[in-house]
Symmetry: C2
Subunit: 147 residues, 2 copies
């Protein structure tokens, strides 16, 4: 039985398992999607404002999505997402950092036009191994209602 | 000579080269970052609300970032980005679709606290080969000022 729209309520919090990001993963993602030198090259990173190689913020977002799936999205009647808001990269993510996600449900809104579904709004925080919040994002998700 | 903050002005528009997304690329990204079945499996896609395999919206964002780099970010005094707003996935991206990006500068704001830099706000549209807008996003970018 998947989780339906009715199973979500504001204030619910889910914590993800940890995920460590290696230097090789950082460089591989950056070469494909975000080849800014401080994402692809250690020496360029040292010379940059970041003082070392850092992960693309879009890779942190990708890891957030994967942790979302692994933590609870895989067990839901998800119908995809129309978008997200307010991505904020607050601190650099560096090779060897271990990330985890905290998902907080902020709003549950049944659709007025489509009675079989509704929208769930979430506030997501990504934390590193020091407990520092490295990224936040406000997400939107569509979910089926209980048949 | 890179492009500095002073080289940007509201209303400037840049168009990217095209980029075709293959089924293999869609599935590879999804297996790593967004394994929702309609992103990883053709048959599951057909049974979904999308009627076929579609790319993760986060991969479309990644391609946007790559097109941004290739189109003009590589030629600038970029200092990274604090975030972005209002990602909207408006239409599915399917295997074989050819995407391009249109970047419009909307605001240029010198920093009050750090005189060597400033913020550029952009509105980005991703279009497919039919001229349909498949995604929009409002980006923030930090750029160095002319020395």
């Amino acid at each position: 039985m998947p989780l339906y729209l009715e199973d979500f309520a504001p204030g619910q919090v889910r914590e993800s398992p940890p995920r460590t990001l290696t230097k090789d993963e950082i460089v591989a993602f950056a070469r494909e999607y975000d080849p800014q030198p401080f994402h692809t090259d250690e020496e360029a990173g040292k010379r940059s404002v970041f003082g070392g190689l850092i992960a693309s913020g879009w890779q942190t977002v990708g890891i957030m999505m994967r942790l979302l799936w692994d933590t609870f999205l895989k067990d839901t009647a998800s119908l995809g997402s129309p978008g997200c808001d307010e991505i904020r990269w607050l601190k650099p993510v560096r090779p060897g950092d271990t990330l985890r996600a905290r998902f907080t449900i902020t709003e549950v809104v049944p659709s007025r036009s489509k009675p079989d579904r509704g929208m769930v709004r979430t506030f997501t925080e990504i934390l590193n191994q020091h407990g520092e919040i490295v990224m936040t994002v406000r997400g939107l998700g569509l979910f089926g209602r209980r048949p």
